[in-house]
Structure formats: C-alpha cells, structure tokens
Symmetry: D2
C-alpha cells in the first residue's frame, strides 16, 4: 500500500490544477487590462473555490488511506500520526 | 463501540458551547446598546472561530471513530458511508 | 449621523442572533444526548453560516456608513480609519 | 477617476499572482511525484491563503474607490450599486 491515496485520480487532479493555473493567469491579465475590481474578485473567488475542492479531495483520500491502513492492521502509532495530520490539515483549511 | 466518538470530551464540548452561547448573547447586547459595527464584528468573528474549533473537534473524533471501526473489522459498507459523511462535512465546513 | 449604521435592522439582527443562540443550545443538547457526530456537525455548520450572515450584514452597514460619511464631507482621517477597519474585519472574517 | 482602484499596486498584484501560479504548478508536480497527501495539502492551503490575500486587497481598493466616488459627489445610484457589489463579493469570499 502506497503512502498517497489518490493515485486513481491523478489525471483528474492534474486537469483541475491546470484549469486553476489558467484561472490565475486570467486574473493577472484582468488586472493588467484594468478590469473592474468586482469582476476580478469573481474570478479570484472561483479559483479559491476550485483550490478548496482539490483540498477536500486530498483530505477524502487521506482519510480513506487511514481507514485502509487500519483495516490492513497498520502500525497504531503511524495511524495515530495520520489522523492527527488529517485534523491539522482540516484546521488549516477551515482557517483559510 | 458507540456511534459517537467524543464521549471523553463531553464536558469540554459543553463548556465551549456555553461560552459561545454567552458570546452570542453578548453580541445581542452590543447591538442593543448601539456598539460600533467593527467592535460587534470582532465578537462575531470570535464566536465563529469558536464554533469552527468545535467542528474541527467533532471531525477529529469522527475520523478516529472510522479508524477504530476499521481496526475492529467493522462492516465495509458502514465504513464507506462514514468516510463519505466525513468528506461531506468537511466540504460544508470549508464553505462556511 | 450616528456611529453605527444598522439601526434600521436592529430587530432583524436580534431575531437572527436569538435563533443562533437557540441553535447553539440545540448543539449542546445533541452532544448531551450522544447524537451522531455528523448530525451535530450539520448543526454547527448551520450556526456558523448564520453567524457569517450577521457579519456580512454588519460589514454592509459599515461600508454604507463610510460612504454616507464621505458624502456628508466627513473628516478624511476618520474615513481612512473606517475603511482600514473594514478591511481588517473582512480579513478576520475570511480567515474564520 | 478610473473604474478600478488598485492602479498603484498593479505590480504588487502581478507579483503575488505569479507566485500563486508557481505554487499551483508546484502542487501539480507534487501530485505527479506522488508526494504525501498532507504535504500537498499544506501547499494547497498556502496557495488558497495567498489568493484570499489578493481578494482582501481588491476589496480594500473597491471600498476606497466607493468612498472617493462619494467624496467626489458621484452619482448616488452608481454608489449604491458599488456598495451592493462589495457586499455580494464579501459574501462569496466568506463562503469560499
């Protein structure tokens, strides 16, 4: 069992991140072309939302990985660390 | 194994929630006494932060419960449902 | 012109905050009755969302108040302070 | 007076957005190289935070622009629209 859990969706993550990269470049262009603040903000919110969807996906995979590890009778200390890491990541995510 | 996972911290949750209740009543009083918006907003942010800490605590316990269930060789379908519920809850939390 | 700007909706704020107070008490009860984590989390998310709606309302009023103050030829330094306070409040809000 | 308010900081916005673009490309690379979920999440949180700082900056400028417009005796209807747009943008931002 590998350490990361999102192997199956690698392409999906890549596609989403490329789209976000394009959105960020679009925001740069908008600012360069003196677009109205509010329209720029709409794009910034869209990119932020897209990044948060990536984060939720990664957390989902991490929790599934903790569970698989537990079913496979993994080392309790490693499991404990992984769950604590999940909580810290959720905390950071909720604060951003 | 009980369905909820935060039995050990019940008192802690109760204490935190009573404090939040007090904060909300404080905000009501501030508005009643025509307190400056920005000072009211500071209190609203503090109460929101305190509620989110409760949410992170509940998620932590839920994930630990998923893991315990997995170690105890729980029903795979139940486990699957619990992990999906965790992800949906994280999603709602990130969006609020 | 008074310092706060939400006089007209005082009752509305009070009603919303009383409802939030009730939601928080409901969460206390749910924890006391050992309700399933995920259901408690749904309630915590609802209360958080309601608090954030109050915050957005207060920010709206504050910005309107800045504008009224500007139209009324208010002291530039006070205006500057008020706008900076709005930004700081938005920052805190986005981080919670 | 131009429609956008952040002319003075155009370079600053561009620099921040280029850095965010780099962060997003870094996340793509991390996923490609099978980096541990939690480390990827740390980077996603950092990029999200950086985007939100851009959003707060744009909102600050927009509110300052509303106030300048008000001081300059701008059209009340335009002002009203601009303030409402600020509130809607704050709402979207708080929800992401």
């Amino acid at each position: 069992m590998s350490v990361r859990g999102y192997t199956m969706n690698k392409d999906d993550y890549t596609k989403r991140l490329r789209r976000i990269e394009g959105q960020v470049r679009g925001i740069e262009r908008m600012i360069d072309e003196d677009t109205y603040c509010i329209d720029v903000l709409t794009q910034v919110s869209a990119a932020t939302k897209a990044l948060q969807a990536v984060a939720v996906g990664l957390l989902d995979e991490h929790v599934r990985h903790c569970v698989k590890n537990a079913v496979a009778d993994g080392d309790p200390e490693t499991l404990e660390t992984m769950v604590t890491e999940a909580t810290r990541a959720i905390e950071r995510l909720v604060r951003t």
